[in-house]
Symmetry: C2
Subunit: 206 residues, 2 copies
């Protein structure tokens, strides 16, 4: 690890650049092969650095992966955090769906990194799921339950409603190749946002 660095912020411009290079390359490789399937040589090549140079900036393969995941968990939940209890219920939830779908469109590699981790049993982030994630979801579920009680939205199971949103939005990032393979070249690929807005409107309308 670089000397002038106590496990956090990079100091120099060169450190910043190389850390970014490494994390970018690692995101690419981890998201396409999973943790065990990815190799340091691949990441190094992708980053345009030598393998020992990689390990000068990060102490191990797992450290790179952890850095990606913990950095991800934060921004990944932002769309949900932005769900305000004060807003108009259906509009708030549809906006959440939009944000989540936009997230999948802009950051498909991050989505697949996460998907890989979960599908493979989430050995490295299970605690975060049971902790921070569950806490945030519980909080928003309370809001949704309130809206239901007030008759503002339909009485659907709040947890499973949230799972639906995650599932449907991330599907377009995680299963992208399948979606493209099935749609072929003629069918429009970008009908997803309108479709999702339409069905969630139906689901949520009392």
């Amino acid at each position: 690890m670089p000397v002038g660095q106590d496990a956090k912020r990079p100091r120099t411009r060169i450190q910043q650049r190389n850390r970014d290079l490494i994390l970018g390359a690692a995101l690419e490789v981890f998201s396409t092969h999973g943790f065990r399937g990815a190799t340091l040589d691949q990441i190094a090549t992708e980053a345009g650095l030598s393998k020992p140079n990689l390990l000068y900036y990060f102490p191990s393969k797992e450290a790179i992966h952890n850095e990606l995941l913990s950095g991800l968990m934060d921004t990944w939940l932002d769309p949900m955090r932005a769900l305000k209890s004060s807003g108009e219920p259906i509009g708030e939830l549809l906006a959440y769906v939009d944000r989540k779908l936009e997230m999948s469109r802009l950051y498909p590699r991050e989505s697949r990194l996460f998907a890989n981790e979960i599908v493979q049993g989430a050995p490295r982030i299970l605690e975060a799921l049971k902790g921070d994630l569950k806490e945030l979801v519980d909080e928003k579920v309370a809001v949704i339950r309130d809206w239901t009680k007030q008759g503002k939205i339909a009485d659907v199971h709040p947890y499973h409603l949230i799972f639906s949103i995650w599932s449907l939005t991330q599907h377009y990032a995680d299963f992208d190749v399948q979606v493209r393979a099935v749609l072929g070249d003629e069918e429009p690929y970008d009908a997803a946002p309108a479709y999702l807005r339409e069905i969630f409107l139906k689901i949520l309308t009392p």
Copy 2:
């Protein structure tokens, strides 16, 4: 490869048993680590056989994986094939959702094997996706379009409707750990079937 075997059906009872052992172990290992993350030693240990013995029944690691995938593709599409154009439209589609969800419940490892493959870019089954899968989907989409034209179901995008069904049902197998982590111990895990039936009824009702 066993001598009395021309690339297909096992002959003796011992071949049958060992092939089953290997494929079962391989399913377990591949579905939790992906193709590259899985090792022959792991599979051998899981199967209770030695590694050279594994390679007596299958020529390579990839051959085992291929066998699993091609065997899977077939049964995985059965629920969709069973969707009959002659039935009552909404009932047929809801029954399809049910079958698909039941599939995820009964065969989560198969679902995760498939998910792993797709998330990682489907390098080994892309052709099957563009071929058999697309063909079957196109056929069923035609049926759905017909139902829509007759006003039997709501006018929703047929391809994306199918993606929704896949996404939502498989989510409970592929993201099982996340679902369980978020639900915790108090919330009921088995509300999914009723929830899905409810929302798809809303989506499909004209």
